[in-house]
């Protein structure tokens, strides 16, 4: 049984009378321990897809189901409750709170302090626990955002360009953290426009006609 399922999901909006398709009609099933990469050009709808999968945006059409719960049938508060327990999200712009240090930013999503310290250490941030975002590089902030997405032990992590600001060494740390998360029972959908070869379960391409498999390694 799939953990996360998108059925005929589509997102359209009206811009000054013109219909814009933010996400073409797409279907996706994410199984346990799967690591899925979604590729596509800028503007293809990768961020919109992740937002819909995470219950942060209601599609104009289609349904999203997380386990037994139909996210699209829940109201704002209901979807927030699901996100708090079951979904981790890595934003493209990180969105760390500027007045909290890295440890507290990570713990904002929940989980224990011990787990947060462990994750930050695995991501090479053990010496930066008490630095605020303004005192960190973009790459460090990005890794902090990854730690925050993983800290509360979600069922699924949705990561939007999580390695975009990272040097190869840091990208490898993030990659390892994601693999570890998937092998321990989680699943992950990562959006990227990078063409780099990744050890993942599936690679999908998001184009004007929806999601299609490209390759699998």
């Amino acid at each position: 049984m799939s953990i996360l399922e998108l059925q005929q999901g589509e997102m359209r909006y009206d811009l000054r009378g013109q219909q814009i398709i933010a996400l073409p009609q797409s279907n996706l099933c994410v199984e346990k321990e799967e690591f899925i990469v979604v590729r596509g050009v800028s503007g293809a709808g990768k961020t919109t897809l992740l937002s819909i999968l995470g219950g942060m945006l209601r599609p104009t059409q289609g349904t999203v189901r997380l386990g037994d719960v139909e996210l699209t049938g829940l109201n704002q508060a209901g979807r927030a409750r699901v996100r708090q327990t079951s979904i981790g999200f890595v934003f493209q712009s990180m969105h760390l709170l500027p007045y909290l240090d890295l440890l507290d930013n990570t713990r904002l999503a929940g989980g224990t302090e011990q787990h947060a310290r462990l994750l930050l250490g695995q991501l090479g941030l053990g010496s930066r626990l008490h630095h605020r975002p303004a005192q960190l590089s973009a790459g460090e902030r990005q890794r902090g955002a990854v730690a925050r997405a993983l800290v509360h032990g979600p069922e699924i992590v949705l990561a939007d360009e999580p390695t975009g600001n990272l040097d190869p060494e840091s990208a490898h740390l993030v990659q390892s953290a994601f693999e570890s998360f998937c092998t321990s029972g989680g699943c992950l959908v990562m959006a990227t426009h990078s063409q780099e070869s990744l050890p993942v379960s599936r690679i999908l391409h998001l184009g004007p006609d929806g999601l299609h498999p490209i390759d699998a390694q």
């Binding site: 508060a77 708090q84 969105h95 709170l97 904002l108």
Partner: protein, 381 residues
């Protein structure tokens, strides 16, 4: 992590922003309080000035002939002193001054002897002494002119109608009949003039307070005549009308001017709070994306607004009180006591300021929380 902890950390990081917000809140509250205290003191000072203008209501004994009264300045009749107690429960005649007036020749001069109660009565209760002091039994208070004519000074003893009195005080010249009056204790005058238990007139302040009365004299008579059968009631119209108009002007100033200032200050507080929420929309989006409930997010913003509102309110109270007592007394020559803060005002300001700040934050925050997190983040970035 608790909401309080998040509020504190945000304030600590953006301390200058918090200082500015508190300063703006404090200045706003101070301005509102300054205006309110001055308007209220203006009202109070107006009342005092009007009181000093003199009493505008005369109650004279039955059968007083008004032509004789105005010619001689006194009534030849008398009425029982118990009339005062009959006025205990009414409100239209205030600050009652019972007195006896008789003209007598003293040391070759015709003087107006005025036996006066040492105190003004208000609804039967002792109030303020006439001339700022009680006229003790066995003493006289002299008008300046008569004291000068008779070469009498405070501290001297003198004989009046066969009885020895000491001169307690010589009044400053005021340019009216008082300058030739001889004041003595009401009970002494009753004995001296064989008018035991009697008085010849009651002066009072008419008080219709804030209500509009089309025919004030008729209203006075309707209220007082049943209590004092046969008494003659006279209203000094020009004085009374001037008092009423000035009092109403002061009241209107307070009642209409202050709400405008208060509304302006409330809007300013509101705009500041709204701007803060708008600046932090991304934060709302992140917290919602992380699954924080709307109550938790609201607590973060409302907690900040309430905290800053409390500090701003306290500073505003101190600042407004200081401005009013220092600048207000200097500019408007009011007494410091007239612009003093009272507990009700302090509590009101301390309650309203954080409330306004919180309410102003509530609207943009509620709008943001109701949106999908992605839309907030998209709008904010």
């Amino acid at each position: 992590m608790t909401t309080l902890s998040l509020v504190w950390r945000e304030l600590f990081l953006r301390k200058w922003s918090a200082v500015l917000a508190v300063s703006a809140l404090g200045a706003t509250v101070a301005a509102a309080l300054f205006f309110f205290l001055l308007a209220r003191s203006n009202e109070g000072e107006t009342r005092i000035l009007q009181r000093d203008m003199g009493l505008n209501l005369l109650i004279l004994p039955q059968d007083t002939s008004l032509d004789a009264y105005w010619a001689k300045g006194l009534s030849t009749g008398s009425m029982p002193v118990e009339f005062l107690t009959k006025l205990e429960d009414q409100v239209v005649a205030n600050r009652l001054v019972p007195m006896i007036k008789r003209r007598r020749t003293w040391q070759g001069r015709e003087v107006l002897l005025t036996g006066i109660s040492g105190e003004i009565f208000k609804q039967g209760k002792a109030m303020k002494p006439v001339f700022g002091r009680v006229i003790e039994s066995g003493t006289l208070v002299l008008g300046s002119e008569i004291a000068g004519m008779l070469n009498l000074e405070a501290g001297q003893s003198t004989e009046l109608l066969g009885q020895v009195f000491s001169i307690a005080h010589v009044l400053q010249p005021v340019g009216d009949e008082q300058d030739v009056q001889v004041f003595l204790d009401l009970a002494d005058a009753q004995t001296l003039l064989d008018l035991e238990g009697r008085i010849t007139e009651i002066e009072a302040l008419e008080c219709h307070c804030s209500e509009e009365v089309s025919d004030p004299l008729a209203a006075l008579r309707a209220e007082l005549e049943p209590l004092l059968p046969g008494a003659v009631i006279i209203r000094r119209d020009a004085l009374a009308d001037a008092r009423r108009d000035q009092r109403q002007l002061a009241e209107r100033f307070l009642q209409s001017g202050f709400p405008v200032i208060a509304l302006f200050c409330a809007l300013l507080v509101g705009v500041l709070s709204m701007l803060n929420v708008r600046d932090r929309r991304a934060e709302i989006g992140v917290l919602r994306a992380l699954g924080k409930s709307s109550v938790q997010v609201a607590g973060l913003f409302l907690g900040r607004a309430v905290f800053l509102g409390l500090i701003g309110g306290a500073l505003g109270i101190i600042g407004g009180g200081f401005l009013a007592s220092d600048l207000g007394t200097m500019l408007f020559h009011t007494r410091a006591g007239a612009v003093a803060l009272d507990l009700d005002l302090v509590l009101t300001a301390m309650f309203i300021t954080p409330l306004f700040a919180a309410l102003a934050s509530l609207v943009p925050m509620a709008l943001a929380v109701a949106q999908d997190p992605v839309r907030i983040l998209g709008d904010a970035s």
